[in-house]
Symmetry: C2
């Protein structure tokens, strides 16, 4: 029976401060859960002199990672630095030294998760990362524990709060991307360089993690097809609404004929499904399985205290095992040879917005191109006639078609004399 | 290292059949997760001769519970009989014999959960019951594991699929309760005796379980204030909609000034909150906590395969521990002396529908009564004037008021000459 559990913290931003405060303020509760006291034994910071939001002896702070990693009192290393390096090095070092690890690092887990987990299994330590996806909303443990008897069929996630905030505002106000981004930046919901969020990079990290666990296969962020939200306009939201759809930046994973499709892009979502109703900075993940059907987890995807909630849950999990001398459960067995489907093989429905000349026969020409490529039209609306300029806007919804055919059709259509420009192409995600 | 895990099944309805099929069809997957094969070693049935949806040697079936409970090969007893007796006796017997238990039995867990868990802790065995609330939607393990660092502030649940189906239909079609109930019975969504569902008894069981775990206090179904859905009319849904609300049968638990409020009743819910959007037979539970904020779990609340998903997850959890010789985690420490708030102390907003005579001064008389009791009005609409009969309908929305004052006001109002009848009183649940 271990008499106490020692924590080493790497990184002392808002989440690190939250974890330290909760360990101190809820010490009695945590001790009861764990069966022994849990104490912070070392904290890696950039500046030891800075004021902190919690009480801790000055001797705990260090700027040297080895003071934490090699500290024999540290049983669990909590990595909250973010970014690939040096976080990855510290995590691997910790595991190699036989320490357990809790991390909120989506980038490291998306790029190196399977390797880290394999290394951890060899060393007999646990690496937990509930906070890396959807912040305080439980999703990783439920997937690994509650849905363990299921085969996952699809995953649909709204797992980036910044972009969901922007899209919600665009839908509500009919405004364009640039204006809402600026507003979000002023409010602190978007960073000054918003690339990671608006280009879907952050969501792709999280989708890689969920897919790896859900499909028990090695899926990395490099496997994920990515398309950001910068090309969306107020018009797209207006037409989507008329057609009965919301527009969301979806992270989608699916098992199709034994191979895996993973993609992050804006999608039209039928407005009656739950995930279409997820607004603002909130996150949601819907897991469709063979037994449980569709299960959705919804809540805050970021923020210091929600993330702290997930980190401390992982800490308690490992600490309980440590105190009772329990070895970690057998590791996930990940298939290595599963095929990632190229995007060209995607089959779905599409929304197309085209700027055309208002002339007889325009529509027929477009339909001819589509027909030749086997793409049939479910509905079409002609919009915003600018009589003076003799321009019109055509919005098409297709039946299921192949991505490669649709891309080819768009190339041919944009070459037509009567077509001024392709307004937008957005994939449509249907629920059964 | 245990070489195999033996399961004894009590009850062989659709869920029992599902569990047996999954254990057989996913045997390889389960064996990998557990680290040893998991096999069914005994099945209690009513009729050993009946045809089954899965293959099992005839020798496994018995009509004598002792053949399962006393079978030395049975490590885990899975109770899927439902109802208080004899299920409770069998569970207690199993625990006293040192067997682990998985149950889907909400009635037993609501009435006797804390005692069973205390008995299990003494015997060093696990009793898991994920399937007892919200079927295949994970809620109990996430509450105990992922939200373990949190203090739960409120619980809001739609945890009875039958009534949510009926209310969804009433809202969509403007129909009255009786008609929709009949339709639901014909479709198999409601039982021929629908009392348990429509009077909120089933929801009260589940709320007692969630409250016990969430507040770490002994809360039984007898503590839960209950009001069913039978008095709701199409008119209420129409007015609620105009006011920006949905009507849902909510299971609500809250910690108020250190005491616990637990109630199941129809409630007006602002139509923009997620739980207002939960339609049909689906379930959802929203947990509000100090750290994670509001987290919502949404999915199928019943059905053979979703329930099977939850039961097998519990089975795998216990089996893993058995194989690795792990003792169960320390039991939940439940406070015994926590006060349950009487309903009279509730403070919330109210919707009142009154049938009144259409005469000058009627409204003033009603407002006078309300004012005397300290109840102020947020909005009022006068509706459906029946000019010939000189009748009108008044719909009032109050500001926050005390339940005891509102009940007293209703008594006084119904005594007024100008008031024909109280149409309905529905509590309003606000989100911040």
């Amino acid at each position: 029976m271990k008499e106490s559990v020692g924590i080493g913290l790497l990184g002392m931003g808002v989440v690190g401060g939250g974890v330290a405060r909760v360990i101190s303020q809820k010490g009695h509760h945590i001790q009861h859960l764990v069966g022994a006291p849990v104490a912070i034994e070392g904290i890696l910071v950039r500046d030891v002199g800075r004021a902190r939001s919690f009480d801790a002896p000055a001797s705990l702070f260090t700027t040297n990672p080895n003071d934490v990693l090699h500290n024999p009192k540290v049983d669990i290393v909590v990595e909250l630095m973010g970014g690939e390096y040096p976080a990855l090095d510290y995590i691997q070092k910790a595991v190699s030294l036989g320490k357990h690890v809790v991390t909120a690092n989506k980038e490291v887990m998306a790029k190196h998760g399977p390797d880290i987990l394999a290394q951890a299994a060899k060393k007999g330590v646990q690496v937990l990362f509930e906070a890396s996806v959807a912040g305080g909303t439980p999703i990783i443990a439920p997937l690994l524990r509650d849905l363990v008897a299921n085969d996952v069929l699809t995953i649909h996630g709204i797992i980036n709060g910044t972009t969901n905030y922007i899209l919600t505002k665009m839908a509500q106000e009919g405004s364009d991307f640039g204006d809402v981004l600026k507003e979000a930046q002023e409010l602190g919901y978007a960073e000054s360089d918003p690339t990671n969020d608006v280009e879907g990079i952050d969501a792709a990290y999280k989708l890689a993690i969920l897919s790896t666990l859900g499909f028990r296969a090695r899926v990395s962020d490099a496997d994920v097809y990515r398309e950001g939200i910068t090309k969306l306009t107020g018009l797209d939201f207006q037409y989507a609404k008329e057609l009965g759809y919301a527009i969301k930046l979806l992270a989608i994973a699916a098992k199709v004929d034994g191979s895996i499709q993973v993609r992050v892009h804006p999608a039209l979502v039928p407005d009656h499904v739950m995930i279409a109703k997820v607004d603002g900075v909130l996150n949601a993940v819907e897991i469709q399985t063979d037994l449980a059907g569709r299960v959705l987890f919804h809540g805050p995807g970021a923020g210091d205290m929600p993330t702290t909630s997930a980190v401390v849950a992982d800490l308690v999990d490992i600490s309980r095992n440590l105190v009772r001398n329990v070895v970690a459960a057998p590791p996930l067995r990940l298939s290595r040879d599963i095929r990632i489907r190229p995007m060209s093989e995607l089959e779905t429905k599409y929304y197309m917005r085209l700027n055309v000349a208002e002339r007889p026969g325009v529509f027929a020409q477009i339909l001819t191109v589509l027909g030749r490529l086997g793409i049939s039209i479910a509905s079409a609306i002609q919009k915003e006639n600018d009589e003076e300029a003799q321009r019109a806007e055509i919005v098409l919804m297709t039946h299921r078609a192949k991505e490669s055919s649709v891309q080819e059709a768009l190339r041919l259509i944009s070459d037509l004399d009567v077509v001024n420009s392709i307004g937008n192409l957005i994939r449509v995600e249907e629920w059964d």
